[in-house]
Symmetry: C2
Subunit: 310 residues, 2 copies
């Protein structure tokens, strides 16, 4: 039994996960990052106790914890170098969490652990090389080879949101570059483009466009400009994935994250663009699929990491 923890900007998802990757019981709590990491660790220790009781699991059967955090990490030390969304810097998270939980703790980036989860029991199960793209507010990703995360030199492997798909004159990205995949294929990009069309009178002014799901809804109800916005973002995604696939030659590419809930509205044009832009032999070898674990990917991957470190 493993304690999987997935720290997000507003809520923390947790689960007790068995050795086969099945979440037996799940709980969520507010992140409240401004109360600091020690406070969160203390509340997670309480949650673990309560979950074990509720599930009738002997606390001693829980052998380790994995933690996903939206941060740039020092993986060797289990330290948060910088988590912009949480406002945390220089936090020795693995040590703090291990003290609070009384368990060995492994820490990794949240997108990496979602990738590990999907590669373990989700859409990439059984494949040797899996590339996961997480399409949400930004575009993240992770690389899993032979069942293990490939981190690369400093944990940035799979950060395909920062492939520069527009070489010159692209839009500015949060990372300081311009023209990153994230600037044209994220939920943020989809909402921006849809609002532009709304401002131009091409989409009904009374519709509230707050997220990519609103644009997907408008597309489904027959608004051509909304469909075009979704398709354009999906084609950029397919183009970026095609470039990544020539480097990595994955068996499976998994598309997850909030925007993936648009389903075929995202998948079909992303697949078409992938086939069009990827080298033929690479395209033939790669299956592009939607994520299967939904919100559980992070906690399942966190549990898997804990298991691999044990």
């Amino acid at each position: 039994m493993w304690f999987g923890i997935d720290i997000g900007g507003t809520s923390v998802k947790t689960a007790l996960v068995d050795d086969a990757g099945t979440p037996l019981i799940k709980r969520a709590l507010p992140t409240d990052p401004e109360r600091g990491p020690e406070d969160l660790c203390r509340r997670l220790a309480e949650t673990l106790r309560a979950m074990a009781d509720a599930a009738g699991v002997d606390r001693r059967a829980v052998r380790g914890a994995g933690v996903g955090v939206p941060a740039f990490l020092d993986l060797a030390r289990g330290e948060v170098v910088e988590a912009i969304n949480l406002g945390w810097r220089g936090v020795p998270l693995a040590d703090l969490m291990a003290d609070a939980l009384g368990l060995p703790v492994a820490v990794d980036n949240d997108a990496n652990l979602a990738a590990l989860g999907e590669a373990w029991t989700g859409a990439g199960a059984g494949a040797e090389t899996v590339l996961c793209a997480t399409v949400g507010t930004g575009v993240g990703g992770g690389v899993v080879i032979h069942g293990r995360l490939h981190h690369g030199a400093n944990g940035m492997a799979g950060e395909i949101g920062h492939m520069r798909v527009v070489r010159e004159g692209g839009l500015p990205c949060n990372c300081g570059q311009t023209g990153c995949l994230e600037t044209v294929a994220s939920a943020t990009a989809i909402v921006r483009e849809a609002r532009d069309r709304q401002d131009a009178g091409l989409l009904p002014p009374e519709e509230r466009i707050l997220g990519a799901e609103d644009v997907a809804r408008l597309a489904r109800s027959g608004h051509e400009p909304a469909r075009w916005v979704m398709e354009t973002a999906a084609r950029w995604l397919g183009f970026g994935l095609a470039q990544a696939a020539v480097v990595l030659n994955p068996d499976v590419i998994v598309i997850g994250g909030g925007v993936s809930k648009a389903g075929d509205l995202l998948l079909a044009p992303a697949r078409a663009a992938f086939s069009e832009y990827a080298q033929r032999l690479v395209a033939e070898a790669t299956s592009v699929r939607l994520a299967r674990l939904g919100n559980d990917a992070g906690v399942v991957g966190a549990a898997r990491l804990a298991m691999q470190r044990a």
Copy 2:
């Protein structure tokens, strides 16, 4: 002791390589691919015997052979699916070679084995994740993670020459796509661009431009259009490597192949473009270097593969 074999379009390089990766004795023979693979295997068996005698090595001390071949391969079966430059199709090369040599034989793509060689004892020695780019007539590459080749789903990993750096309207590539890195950063591209400038009267008409080395020579002797051509190709290479680096996050990128003999004329602008186009944290973690093993990379990598398979 290992027998490293590097099959090229015109000549086959061979070496007896010790366990530390040092080639003790080297021989080259003509490929003569039209005489067929059996004939080449027979000649390689003679070469091996002659080399062992010349080096005073007991033939039984040679424990295996590795073979690099410019081909699309069925790696599991050691079979050449198609080697366009050799005119071979459907050749069970590992089996033929094992029969002829009386040794276990491991076969891989030539660019992959050059990468493995550089990652073992060359410019990538000691690094965990190494991406090698081979810039010659085409642009090939290989990925080495924790000392072993990463092949991917069908052996296409690291084929960065077919990253589509020009999304629309690029030049046609041999692979059937357009806008591949190979169309703008290979020796072929350099020669084509230099000849265009020569035809336009921008380079001396009496200079024979047969290879990238001629363009490099003109650049060194102060011809600005030749320098511009080298720099432009190098910048495209740096741009392509920057995209690959966000996927793989390598510790070291090794640039080899014929064009890398241009040295700083290639390396300096490639490095500058890499830093400019790669995500900052990725760029900071990656060292971009020229290959060190020169023509030996293939045979050293082939020996390493044989050693890993033994």
